[in-house]
């Protein structure tokens, strides 16, 4: 891995490489460069995940000509494709170095903090949503029970906006969550369930299922589950799978006419 990064930097295929290095024992994102090539020796994989692609996006906004290498998990690659599909970045400016992440028998190791068991306890079990992250696990609960549990989860929200702020594919200049006409401001929890449903709708067809939002959530709202659910609807209705290809775009997925009928969305 270090050799590849060194070669890329030396040969000029990239100008900068975003990876990790240890600072006082903590994996911290670091930008490696040709000028400080000796630092590449410190390059490390990291169990802790930071939105490197969001940092790269910010760098490209400052200098669209810079070429950036990224230490990338599967989810990083999906969000790079989504950012490209939404014309936020030029794919040609990004070169990814894949790292082992999601577990598979074909791999030696899996580097993802998400593989840690979610914390659970008796109160969470009786009031919260199932923490498996699988929308099907929730369907066994009656609709009323699901509603009760979601309302419990949303009432915990302290309105940090961390779900949005860490999201690698949240890039809107004006955010609906901060729109005065949509949302009462200055109170916690934010309007239940409106705040979270507005974001969920926005994540439909956008969310790359990286789970960074859920990791950043101070109060353990199962956001990944929520966005999986809405993304599932988009996949079912339109056959659009977020971040899978470059060809399908959110701009053409609906075709010329929208097949949306309100009556068919009652589940």
């Amino acid at each position: 891995m270090k050799d590849i990064v060194r070669t890329w930097l030396e040969s000029g295929r990239i100008d900068l490489f975003l990876g990790y290095r240890l600072v006082d024992g903590h994996p911290i994102p670091h930008c490696f460069s040709k000028e400080r090539l000796e630092e590449v020796e410190q390059l490390t994989e990291s169990l802790a995940r930071y939105p490197l692609e969001k940092i790269a996006h910010q760098m490209l906004q400052k200098d669209p000509a810079v070429r950036i290498g990224l230490m990338a998990r599967d989810c990083t690659q999906r969000s790079v494709r989504v950012l490209a599909a939404w014309n936020q970045i030029d794919m040609d400016r990004i070169r990814v170095l894949t790292m082992s992440c999601c577990p598979s028998d074909a791999k030696d190791k899996a580097f993802c903090s998400y593989l840690q068991e979610p914390e659970t306890g008796p109160v969470r079990k009786s009031n919260g949503m199932p923490s498996t992250g699988d929308p099907d696990d929730c369907r066994v609960l009656p609709a009323e029970e699901r509603l009760r549990r979601w309302l419990y989860e949303f009432q915990k929200c302290i309105k940090c906006y961390g779900c949005r702020d860490i999201c690698p594919v949240c890039f809107c200049k004006d955010c609906g969550l901060e729109h005065e006409d949509l949302m009462d401001k200055g109170v916690v929890p934010p309007e239940v369930p409106l705040f979270h449903l507005i974001r969920a709708v926005h994540m439909a067809g956008r969310c790359v299922d990286c789970g960074l939002c859920e990791e950043a959530c101070p109060v353990g709202i199962p956001l990944r589950l929520l966005y999986r659910k809405v993304n599932g609807i988009v996949t079912d209705r339109f056959g659009y799978r977020v971040g899978q290809t470059k060809d399908q775009s959110p701009f053409n997925v609906l075709g010329e006419f929208s097949p949306l009928e309100l009556s068919s969305l009652d589940d």
Binding site: D24, H26, P27, A48, Y50, I55
Partner: protein
């Protein structure tokens, strides 16, 4: 282009959350939680996530100032320090060291607090040192 991520600590409340400042070409552009920090374990509140915004605010003071003809006017550091020192000295000479009060700060670092109370106690010569712990 240069991009750096610098570990630090949030300066709002007393929790002491670990933050990463994201700096692109010498400009502070963002704040992230340190994922592995013992205090906040990868989360922040609304203030923490926006920590960089007050630092880059255009309202920041950029120059020392002295009041002249009733108005605060930008001056050099030498002028500001000299003005403060000579007027402090006058007050101490005329009214004694206990006529000076120093309010140190719950916002600045330990090192700076240490220096501030040391200045009050050894250079001015008073224990009139306090800060807003009560507020």
């Amino acid at each position: 282009m240069d991009c750096r991520l610098v570990p630090s600590v949030c300066s709002y409340c007393g929790t002491g959350c670990g933050v990463l400042f994201s700096v692109i070409d010498g400009t502070l552009v963002g704040t992230y939680p340190i994922k592995t920090h013992p205090v906040n374990e990868g989360s922040l509140c609304i203030k923490g996530w926006n920590l960089h915004e007050h630092i880059t605010s255009p309202k920041r003071l950029r120059n020392p100032m002295i009041r002249r003809n009733g108005q605060l006017q930008p001056v050099s550091w030498d002028e500001a320090i000299q003005e403060a020192a000579s007027r402090l000295r006058t007050v101490v000479e005329e009214h004694g060291p206990d006529s000076v009060g120093v309010l140190t700060s719950a916002k600045i670092t330990n090192e700076e607090n240490y220096l501030a109370q040391k200045l009050a106690r050894t250079v001015i010569g008073t224990n009139n040192v306090d800060h807003c712990a009560r507020l």
